[in-house]
Subunit: 193 residues, 2 copies
DNA sequence: ACTATAACGCACAGAACTTGGCATTAAGCC
DNA sequence: GGCTTAATGCCAAGTTCTGTGCGTTATAGT
């Protein structure tokens, strides 16, 4: 979990300065995350400023500036790890069923307004450098494509399953709860079957 | 072209105060548009401020504040009309060929970094209110679905053609020039053939 | 429990952004 | 051409954001 946190700019290789991730820091982080998610749901991904977050989180703004530097980086970082990359993927042996479950998980996740708003913030920061809040999702897609019995590529999972969901989450959020996971997965599998 | 321009807030119905769209105003608008596109390509959709645009466009910043109010609104407005809605769609009688041409047009358009960056800015502002910089694209998709001989719905055009392109334009821009318009269109048509 | 120091809070200064009043220019319409 | 007034330019606060030095707190490791 490197994220794009700045903090102590130790670039000399000698024994990294062992970060402090527990206790107070964890409380502060949780508090900030909550504030960001509330604000982003209220005001959209832009329009969220660091002083604003600091006030709601009851944290000093300098803590936020030191940790992320700017609002864009902060939002993108929080958006990236909103869906735990270590949560474990469905793996029952039935690839199509697993893929359908995963797809449904995506749909449910982005149907929640907060997550969709965070995604929009990530979209705004995408394209430049290493900021891609969907990289975990893309890795998961590639993982499914690599499983035995797969008849599709990772790119096809992106195009046929991930893209429609993300597109709707961003631009047509009210249509997302209506879409059917199975439809997407069936087409993905049919194509090459 | 209602856009979300503010200007004279005349809400009483009596004869609207006839806007001035030509001459100097047009020059100013063109200059602003150019500046926004340059800046957004350089610095991303966020990180573009109104004073910044004003300076590069050699326009007074108060003119921009009065016209749009804030950077988000401005960017979304400019992004919406980047692809002229009145440009005319291909219509040779061969639906599949027309659709392929349109798809290729989309791919080419969003392969240009400026347009992709504007799209990201639009994505950031999406979801709230009436701001959707892709509404024209969605209308065009529905138009194709409504043509005689069509075997698909507008939603299917969105899911199978538009979504993959937009997804890649936003999150995987370097992969966009590689995608093939025909592949998307073929799958859209095959499905229900 | 003890030590070193990562991370935080506080305060202040400098920069940047917003906003409105007022004067000037010129687009739209006879 | 002459009139009305939309739109711009200029300026001057007022507000908010950004960034840094310094002292304090309490986490990670022994």
């Amino acid at each position: 979990m490197p994220s794009s946190v700045r903090y102590s700019g130790c670039m000399v290789a000698e024994s990294r300065p062992r970060r402090r991730t527990g206790g107070r820091s964890a409380v502060v982080l949780t508090s900030i995350r909550k504030a960001v998610e509330e604000l982003i749901a209220e005001r959209g991904s832009e329009g969220v400023t660091i002083p604003m977050v600091a006030e709601r989180a009851r944290v000093n703004h300098s803590s936020i500036y030191r940790r992320w530097g700017d609002a864009r980086t902060m939002i993108n970082d929080l958006a990236t790890y909103r869906l735990d990359p270590d949560r474990g993927l469905p793996d029952t042996g039935d690839l199509r069923a697993d893929l359908t479950a995963w797809t449904q998980e995506l749909i449910s996740h982005y149907s929640i307004p907060v997550n969709a708003a965070l995604l929009r913030g990530g979209a705004a920061a995408a394209g430049e450098s290493e900021s891609d809040c969907l990289r975990d999702r893309q890795a998961e897609a590639a993982g499914f494509a690599a499983r035995p019995g797969s008849t599709f590529t990772g790119d096809e999972v992106i195009d046929r399953v991930v893209a429609p969901i993300i597109y709707r989450a961003i631009f047509l959020p009210w249509t997302l709860p209506e879409v059917d996971a199975r439809t997407y997965v069936d087409e993905l599998c049919h194509r090459s079957a």
